[in-house]
């Protein structure tokens, strides 16, 4: 190398700031997004409330009191009582255990399956696409209710403990929900894979795994986040419909969904708002919080956000 090559490697002091780890940056960006942090706090709070709160309640799951039925909020029952004279506050907290888990886990499952399969289909196209998309078509076309009835009957025949069925429930809601996400993701990937940076990855000889999971999928994160946020609310509400089929929770175990459905008539709606407002608010707050986190996550992952 000639003397002039030296300038290429600067020997002048470049500000030697320790480069941040990507995680640190993401966390920093995330925490700078005030709303996202609020969202995270809310979710943590909800979890704490639901998992620790009941220990501070003077009541327990099986308690009921016919004399106290349908009471409005009072100092004895902060959020009132239901038609069995049960404390709504306690039930709301206990319900959260189920609903939060169902919402998050089920959505997690559909997102993971859906995003992965959608990405594979969009990336490989040809027969992979055909196969995955046709399977997705089939999943979309299958009637949900009869399948759930069968599963309920099978779980009952196998004498699976009703308290364990909630795990099957998460799995089922999760598995039934992947197909639409996969189609959305695939659609995006089809567009993305034609972009020049994908030709660049080809030129570098990157492994398909990296092309898919590192290059393509992150670009679909925004749409996945929306699906996921919507999915959480859907799963929480869907759960309540499944109790009747022997897959969901069994009374008296509450879930937000079944607490609300219990008030599914004009009279409770009008006269006893304390029956449905607390669980409804919980779902709302959870969904909003998850959305805030999602937005925060998207902004944190979006290189062009300045916030």
């Amino acid at each position: 190398m000639s003397a002039e090559a030296a300038p290429l490697k600067t020997n002048l002091p470049v500000p030697k700031k320790q480069p941040d780890s990507p995680w640190r940056i993401a966390i920093r960006r995330f925490s700078r997004n005030r709303l996202a942090v609020i969202g995270l706090f809310i979710i943590v709070f909800m979890f704490l409330l639901c998992f620790i709160g009941p220990f501070f309640s003077p009541y327990s799951l099986y308690d009921y009191s016919v004399l106290d039925k349908n009471l409005p909020p009072s100092s004895k029952y902060w959020l009132g009582t239901d038609k069995l004279g049960r404390d709504i506050l306690l039930r709301m907290m206990l319900a959260g255990r189920i609903s939060l888990l169902v919402g998050l886990v089920a959505t997690g499952i559909s997102v993971i399956i859906g995003a992965t399969l959608g990405a594979l289909a969009g990336f490989y196209r040809k027969w992979v696409d055909t196969l995955i998309m046709r399977v997705a078509d089939i999943f979309m076309a299958l009637p949900t209710l009869p399948i759930l009835i069968i599963l309920g009957a099978i779980l009952s025949d196998l004498k699976v403990e009703p308290s364990d069925r909630i795990y099957f429930l998460m799995l089922i809601i999760g598995v039934l929900g992947w197909s639409s996400i996969s189609r959305l993701v695939r659609g995006q990937i089809l567009g993305l894979r034609e972009q020049e940076f994908m030709q660049a990855t080809e030129a570098l000889g990157l492994k398909d795994r990296r092309k898919i999971f590192r290059h393509l999928l992150p670009n679909t994160v925004p749409i996945i986040i929306v699906s996921a946020t919507l999915g959480v609310a859907g799963a929480i509400i869907f759960e309540s419909a499944l109790s009747f089929l022997g897959i969901g929770v069994v009374p008296p175990t509450p879930s937000w969904g079944n607490m609300i459905s219990a008030a599914n008539n004009l009279i409770d709606f009008r006269k006893r708002p304390w029956l449905w407002i607390p669980p409804g608010m919980c779902i709302l707050v959870t969904v909003v919080a998850i959305n805030l986190i999602g937005d925060g996550l998207r902004d944190a992952l979006d290189p062009k956000m300045k916030k």
Partner: protein
């Protein structure tokens, strides 16, 4: 003459033109229409020509980023268009490309440090611990700095992005690089650095380049041999000295005369090309250049000029050369 690294034989690449509701194929863009040449080991071959004449397409087809329509691309003795997907992938580090458009060839969501280093990991060329050092080293070689490691592509200026593209190709230690206008977006100072860098690397590592550019001064500086393309075909090919001293094809002459010179006081005569610019979908009969050629005759309209060696390894396709 040294050994050929790349042999291109009768390469054609057509793009279908689609139209109508059902997107039927209504014709072909003959982006590359039967081009043959070889590049020797350690040589840098310059490809110049009009914008849209198929330079990038050649570059991409050679690397099999596009599937060829016809012809052969032989790299180190293997016809790469016949390789399996996995074999092709394994061969990739040996042949790299610097893209013409640095921005769209970078994934907006991937930090440049990772973008540059990821191929090393995937080809198992380096372990994760050394990775960062290697990347930073390469960044610095290319005139970027360590603090750029954690930035996203959009946070760079156009020239900086181009250097990221170069770094990404160089880090794999390839034998052959298609450099698709690697310095056109750079300011002269960086351009000088990059060109110096490329020629240093070539000398040290026996690198071979296909250097696509329209900046003749840069091509002149860097390349041993130069090919001039027009509308999908090679119209002239010669060693650098020969070509600049004795350009034979009227298009080459026009090109040379159009190069701007950094001297505001100097006003030169340019050969101005007139006439219809033909389309690669429907190239003119005979010599493709005849529509704009100052020397064009009836012969040129009817007969395709032979691409021939006029001696001194100087090839040209013109009836009047």
């Amino acid at each position: 003459m040294s050994q050929a690294l790349i042999e291109i034989d009768g390469l054609k690449k057509y793009f279908p033109i689609t139209g109508g509701v059902f997107q039927r194929t209504v014709g072909n863009v003959r982006a590359v229409d039967g081009v043959s040449f070889t590049i020797n080991k350690g040589e840098s071959f310059g490809l110049v020509g009009e914008s849209g004449c198929g330079k990038s397409t050649i570059g991409r087809t050679i690397l099999r980023l596009l599937e060829k329509t016809e012809g052969k691309v032989i790299f180190n003795g293997t016809d790469i268009h016949t390789l399996s997907k996995e074999k092709m992938r394994a061969l990739r580090p040996k042949m790299q490309i610097v893209f013409q458009d640095p921005f769209s060839s970078l994934n907006p969501r991937i930090k440049v440090g990772e973008a540059i280093g990821e191929a090393l990991i995937d080809h198992g060329l380096v372990n994760r611990k050394e990775l960062k050092d290697r990347v930073i080293e390469t960044l610095e070689i290319c005139g970027l700095a360590a603090y750029h490691y954690d930035r996203y592509p959009h946070e760079f200026s156009g020239g900086q992005r181009q250097r990221i593209g170069i770094a990404r190709a160089l880090i794999l230690n390839p034998d052959f690089i298609v450099a698709d206008e690697p310095v056109s977006a750079l300011d002269v100072s960086i351009q000088a650095q990059i060109i110096n860098l490329l020629s240093d690397l070539q000398r040290e590592k026996q690198l071979t380049y296909l250097f696509i550019s329209h900046d003749l001064s840069v091509v002149e500086h860097l390349c041993n041999r130069i090919g001039v393309m027009y509308l999908g075909s090679m119209v002239e090919m010669a060693s650098k000295e020969e070509l600049f001293r004795n350009p034979l094809h009227p298009y080459t002459k026009a090109l040379l005369s159009a190069v701007p010179v950094p001297d505001p006081t100097l006003k030169r005569d340019r050969i101005v090309l007139k006439g219809d610019i033909p389309s690669p979908a429907n190239p003119p009969s005979g010599c493709k250049f005849h529509t704009r050629c100052p020397l064009a005759s009836d012969l040129c309209k009817q007969q395709v000029p032979e691409y021939r060696d006029v001696g001194n390894n100087h090839f040209v396709a013109c009836h009047y050369a």
